[in-house]
Subunit: 348 residues, 4 copies
């Protein structure tokens, strides 16, 4: 059987397959018996490395996907009655079918956020009614890095949020499904990012893994619930060595950073090319592996005949073009040619 | 890195790795881009085949693990206020950390069940208070095939439960984490088994897959919730082709049946050998891939120095010995030798 | 002991006590023993009358308070995975501490709504992603009548919503905590209003009762869950005769309408008086028992020394003044005098 | 309208109405306006008195009924992933329709308990799998005083449970729907009982109130969730003065103890009379306001023609006869006469 997609998809970084080194690690982990549920050496190694790189004093937990990581991470920080402040554009608000509400019973207090980024000022807009039992009580602020619009918080911006939250009895959860892209963009370490959260997810799937995410708990005091909630939430893998092996490969020789840096570079190449095409407007700063662009609806329709990508906002005629670890320069260039052609431009 | 376990484990069928044909299918599915979340041809093929083999008029859904399958399956059948009747020994009651209660908010009405098998009579013992708002109201009966004790319901027994439930406004959920072992033991088709349930899980992980289960919805009327609940429960895989490919391999040339039949045969070989060892008592009929045995606590301790297995009931001195698709006759024989030696028997 | 408030409060209609006729009914119901949990004649009579007045083909259920009524009512209509479309200003969104999310696990899809009133057009703005498992799926539209801003949907507006919802596979829940005020304002029957909902609450507490609300289920098909969910949600009263007696009194000689009409008239009197006071702006149409007004922050502070009321929006300098069944014309006039004095106006 | 029951019911202590002093307090609280949601002087006085009598360092919260009190109390003590150990006969397990599971998502780990009373040994039987993520993890032990069988834990028994729990990282929740009856039976103070729990409910409804219970939090550290959870659970009363007034009356001149002592005495009188009637066997020690008795099924049927009571266990031919604050000696004697007559005995 051949795959579903003949040309490189710009639809999402999860249209890509598994990085060869990750696949090799999976195959090599298929060696006889192993203790299940994480009692295997692959998982042990992955967890140790994740803790070392992130500087976590708590534990790290491998889970099966991004929604699972987000719901578990929030659950570790939320008091039973508490709500979450997040950007309107947050993945937990827009893309997870209400999973946080369903599984945690929490309420999301959303804030319209330019470029998908919260600020202390924006967070404070949801403080109305704190201490009044009729109002939902925020306990956690959830941020995404890199954001759903492909932008990155600077380390200063992250620190400002963390300090503001600490001063206001709020914990910080960081959705790091694309944290590697942010580390690559900012040129910082995992610890630089993780240090500004109380709990974070650290994505593998969108960065060359087959399917694995880590939930990193920065403080030991937040861990007692974790193993049990992971099980209750259906996020405990039986043959977990095959999750551990994926992170082992990603964390060997900084493959996680290399994959992300490459995807970022391909998005940057795309954005650079777009700058030369009249009628195509890049609408967010390109700081990770994605380009949001506004172009003529007719041109969008024409491009979708040959290429796979999402129309992000039909009303605004904005599309999302996403690269991945395996996007080639030639893919970008071919895509740019077709965009230019659709836009009626003859590229030299 | 080498695996954690040097000799064949008799600890569980999830100590085993991935069947080579399944692994091959996974590697082959790593071919370029594919539509995520199930829009790929591997998943489409797997779903089609599962529906065909089970005779489902509804849909089938790939999920990430057994707890996820159970909670989703129950959720599709339960009214918002309803409870579940199940055996005390049911996996959902004893081994999932209270996941059904946590995620579904349901109550389990348990029944002590000989050999792990419910009967209409046993089910009826939990009918007290039906129609009285103070009592939890059963809406679903959950059975396991093969059971947690390795026994199998006959098709007649399953049919009797299904008819009794239908006559008493109860739906049937079947936990089929080891359904293949039952099909192999009974010599029946998947449809023979599935026809006696409203929703069932169909396990891959314990039967040679890397990590995948299917939730099969027999009636179309029970499907409208399913895709959304799968997402909310964190059971929607992003790069789902790697789940689809696993089932594709298992369902090719009846590998699922061959794997299960082999594991069953190894358990039978073990049981046959045990019959010749004095002081070791097999405590449940051996009808799948597991042997429960009672033996001297000192002999258990001695065996555990070299072999991996679970003490099931310390008070009763009962152990669980489980085979898998990759258990070899020589593994069984070596284990039997050591059991005999521990029991002070010289085997010829 | 004397009460907490020396002058008539304009803080809320629940600052008022119990109407004398209701209190009399409670005292009279204290006659010997009665079957609990609703098996008493007072409850039976109340339920019968509520069904008759509303035209419900389903059942009516007495509950303990407004949040309980809303959560139960929504729970009867929502599929397990479904979300609720409601106005941003909806009580369930702003005033119940996230109860619907906590108890039902649902998500609220909010819409900014002028005057607190939804329209088909506004509802349709939350249809993005219907059928896509990543998006929360609306199953119920929740409206409030009279609204949190004191406005009333006309019967035509209600009908338009009902028809739009029916055409779009959505059910209608109506939060009728102040439904009596709307009936009085519109001069319509309870059935006129109830007929535009699938399930509604019908408030007693804010209309002279001590503490009781009804959940009215218009269609028999929506009732099977109801008694059990009421119990699970902690809304089943033990000595329910004292709830039944309250509604008996309210429904005798249309006391419910008289109380509401009186409160409405007092709000209208207040609004009329305000029109003569410069610097005080009534910000919503006055169509029930409440007046929202914008005035100078200093004048607000001065008034709060003597009178009890809420500052609704501190930034906008808007206050909420609410009347009740027991507000006297002299209360309104005294309040108007003080408002005028605060505003620096000498009233004649 | 006259009440539903012509002769004194022995069906339950909630068949009784409201004690006259409580009703008087309710009527007197109907004096003008009051701050809602507990900001009134009646509630303030009640809370203060409950804290003083119980010795609570935390807060006390008035709620609307017993199920609401139990679910709130458990919710304050349970970690998000934790389960509850309780007797099989516990009201939360048998009589609340699965409310704890539904609202809290917790699992009840039940223990068969002689006379409805747990012991450290019985509690320890549910310790299997602590620390293993596959097993539900107990976090709270729930006991009932007086129990569902009318028996009372001695203070020594309570202390033994509390110390055992403290030594085993378990919190104690005490369901005190009939705590007054236990205090009256044991001749102890509320503080004597409350000191052996971390959180407890303190019942009013079954002891002469119209409908009110208190949740008492013994340690301040357990209170931060409480007001918000009460609201989310639908247990926050709007016109709360009418709840406060009930407790004010019950706590004035120890009416709560007098009511309970009277009900206890009536049950004791009944038991004493039964001792003289052959063929009637009292099956539990009579230590509160209830008598469980075994008698001939035909005699039960005959008695039910004239008297209201529950058949507790049809198979065992056991009935429950319950007294109340307003049971008269003449009621008991008339009932005894009829029991004797049904049993074919001529009483002198």
């Amino acid at each position: 059987m051949t795959g579903a997609v003949s040309r490189k998809s710009f639809g999402s970084d999860n249209h890509a397959g598994t990085h060869p080194a990750v696949m090799r690690a999976i195959v090599e982990a298929n060696a006889g018996d192993a203790i299940p549920y994480g009692g295997d050496p692959w998982t042990e190694k992955a967890i140790g490395e994740i803790r070392r790189l992130s500087g976590a004093q708590g534990e790290a937990y491998l889970v099966l996907n991004g929604s699972g990581a987000n719901v578990l991470g929030l659950g570790l920080l939320l008091g039973r009655h508490e709500a979450v402040i997040c950007a309107e554009s947050a993945h937990i608000n827009t893309d997870e079918c209400g999973a946080a509400e369903r599984v945690l019973g929490t309420k999301l207090l959303t804030v319209p956020a330019q470029d998908g980024k919260l600020t202390p000022e924006l967070i404070a807009t949801r403080f109305v009614g704190r201490g009044d039992e009729h109002f939902a009580q925020p306990g956690v602020v959830a941020i995404t890095q890199s954001t759903e619009f492909g932008t990155c918080y600077s380390l200063d911006e992250l620190r400002a949020i963390k300090e503001f939250c600490a001063a206001n009895r709020l914990r910080v959860f960081l959705d790091g499904a694309r944290l590697a892209n942010a580390a690559a963009y900012l040129g910082c370490t995992l610890a630089d990012l993780a240090g500004n959260a109380d709990v974070l997810s650290f994505g593998g799937t969108k960065n060359g893994a087959m399917g694995v995410e880590a939930v990193i708990v920065m403080h030991a005091a937040d861990t007692p619930n974790a193993r049990y909630l992971r099980k209750q939430h259906g996020q405990l893998s039986s043959k977990m060595r095959f999750l551990g092996a994926q992170f082992d490969a990603l964390l060997t020789d900084d493959l996680w950073l290399a994959n992300a840096a490459h995807a970022n570079a391909m998005a940057a190449r795309l954005a650079t090319g777009l700058a030369e095409i009249p009628g195509v407007e890049v609408v967010y700063p390109v700081q990770s592996d994605v380009v949001f662009a506004r172009l003529d609806p007719n041109h969008i329709a024409e491009l979708q005949r040959d290429w796979i990508f999402h129309v992000w906002d039909e009303g605004a005629s904005v599309v999302r073009w996403m690269t991945a670890f395996d996007t080639q320069e030639s893919d970008v260039d071919a895509f740019l040619s077709d965009i230019a052609a659709a836009a009626g431009v003859v590229r030299v």
